[in-house]
């Protein structure tokens, strides 16, 4: 029953959040700020993780190919597919929950317990739309870009690692990256990243916005936000995959 209550409250929150901003100029300035904080702020972490994931995929794939009948270019193919289909969306998504999601829950939770949200409400500002909408828009906009960067750096890292370790010559790797390329895989990946952007921003916002109590409760809300957002993200990953790839 508790979960149904949360789903209902979350839906009601979204119905108030997804409304036309009161001042478009203020909304866009907050949007740009959120893009900068959540997007550009997360870029170094995304690039570092993607670099190592790309390299590890090459080593793991190469170490599992023992048959001389399997061509080396399959290492490039596997790296590309792994990065596009799963790592750059789902794994990066899970990492962003820890970085961005917990920060959203903490920020809104702190604003709640220090009465900053009450201050907005008393002024007549739709606090949900004012605080949460720019975050949702920003992450829905920036997450696909982060995904593209992640795919790119992962594939390039794989190429360097393959070449430097001698596991896969560069020419073979590039051939594998180009082999049987389907644009629909990229579309699938970008659709996932848009949905994940929405999930990563809105669910932690729900947990933060409705915090009651003090600093300890803000911490608990942040933890709950990470746990539940991860579960929803993995569930949606399964749903989208079944809908688009089967």
């Amino acid at each position: 029953m508790n979960i149904l209550r949360h789903i209902g409250s979350y839906a009601l929150m979204l119905s108030k959040t997804l409304k036309k901003p009161e001042k478009t100029r203020v909304f866009w300035s907050r949007f740009v700020r959120e893009v900068s904080v959540m997007g550009i702020g997360s870029l170094p972490l995304v690039l570092i993780i993607s670099f190592f994931i790309g390299g590890v995929i090459v080593i793991q794939t190469a170490s599992n190919i023992s048959s001389p009948f399997i061509p080396a270019y399959l290492i490039g193919f596997t790296t590309r597919q792994s990065m596009i289909l799963e790592f750059s969306t789902t794994v990066i998504g899970l990492i962003l929950i820890g970085k961005v999601g917990s920060s959203i829950a903490t920020e809104l939770g702190t604003m709640r317990i220090t009465e900053q949200i009450d201050a907005l409400e008393i002024m007549g500002v739709n606090s949900k739309s004012f605080l949460i909408l720019p975050k949702i828009f920003a992450l829905v906009f920036v997450n696909p870009l982060l995904t593209i960067f992640s795919i790119g750096i992962g594939i390039v890292a794989g190429m360097w690692v393959g070449d430097l370790t001698g596991l896969c010559p560069m020419k073979q790797y590039v051939l594998g990256v180009q082999y049987s390329f389907k644009m629909s895989d990229v579309t699938y990946s970008l659709i996932k990243s848009i949905v994940f952007g929405f999930i990563i921003s809105s669910i932690p916002a729900y947990f933060g916005y409705f915090v009651k109590g003090g600093a300890v409760d803000v911490g608990k809300a942040s933890t709950s936000a990470v746990v539940y957002t991860s579960i929803v993200l993995l569930f949606m990953n399964y749903v989208i995959t079944q809908l688009m790839l089967l």
Binding site: V26, T110, M111, T114, Q116, I122, G124
Partner: protein, 253 residues
């Protein structure tokens, strides 16, 4: 004018307000006093719509706030300034941005005009030098003054102050009281202060309302408090043995 008619409010089994009726005249300075947990802040939160009363009415110039639609409530809220106990300044904004915020959201003023207005109000509260500072860089007294500047920047008709002196030293408290009092007179605002600071009551208390266990037990002026026979109020006013001693000395003279 703000009128409260038989306001009742409970949180679970705890009946916080047991039918409170109050009237605040336009342009008057009103102080709601009472012990911690007596229901003072709940009254203010019911008035500004942060809590919905279980029964009773809150009338702003005759309009029943809790029976209005969202848009009509919003119009009344634009006329309300609220100073929170902890100031509730937006941490992500500078002092200037905090004070500009209500103007930015609800006025049709240009960017420069908003800036000028914010600077004018910050000058009134003596903080024209702190425009670019963030709330985390301010002292408690400065935060209260920024809170006051933000509360009055959009030209409200009603100003609510929840414990404006809590956590401040006596000298800063006097400064804050005088500031609220002078702004009330200057802009003809209906001011409602929630406090248990007797210094404030004696220095700026035009109309004083004493709330005890969710009921309005007494109302009058700050001068009348000294001569009241209401036991709960005298217990509250002369809670410290020092004040009791002073009172006894005055009586014996």
């Amino acid at each position: 004018m703000i009128e409260l008619q038989n306001i009742k409010k409970s949180f679970g089994d705890n009946e916080v307000l047991k039918g409170v009726s109050l009237t605040f005249e336009t342009g008057s300075m009103n102080l709601i006093i009472g012990a911690s947990g007596s229901g003072k802040t709940t009254i203010a939160k019911c008035m500004v719509g942060l809590h919905s009363p279980d029964s009773g009415k809150v009338l702003f110039d005759g309009r029943d706030f809790h029976n209005l639609n969202f848009k009509e409530q919003k119009n009344i809220r634009k006329d309300i300034g609220f100073l929170f106990q902890g100031s509730a300044l937006f941490d992500s904004m500078t002092v200037e941005e905090n004070v500009s915020f209500p103007l930015q959201m609800f006025s049709s003023l240009s960017k420069n005009e908003v800036k000028e207005r914010a600077q004018m109000y910050l000058e009134k509260v003596g903080l024209s030098h702190a425009l670019k500072l963030y709330p985390s860089e301010l002292s408690g007294g400065m935060m209260k003054r920024v809170g006051i500047a933000r509360a009055i920047s959009a030209g409200p008709k009603y100003l609510f102050c929840d414990e404006p002196n809590s956590g401040l030293d006596p000298q800063t408290s006097v400064v804050i009281d005088e500031l609220i009092s002078s702004l009330t007179k200057e802009f003809n605002i209906t001011t409602i202060i929630i406090t248990h600071d007797m210094n404030s009551v004696m220095s700026i208390g035009q109309n004083v309302f004493f709330i005890h266990k969710g009921n309005l037990l007494w109302k009058g002026s700050s001068k009348e408090i000294l001569t009241t026979k209401e036991k709960e109020l005298t217990d509250f006013v002369y809670a410290s043995s020092f004040l009791k001693e002073v009172k006894n000395q005055i009586i014996s003279k």
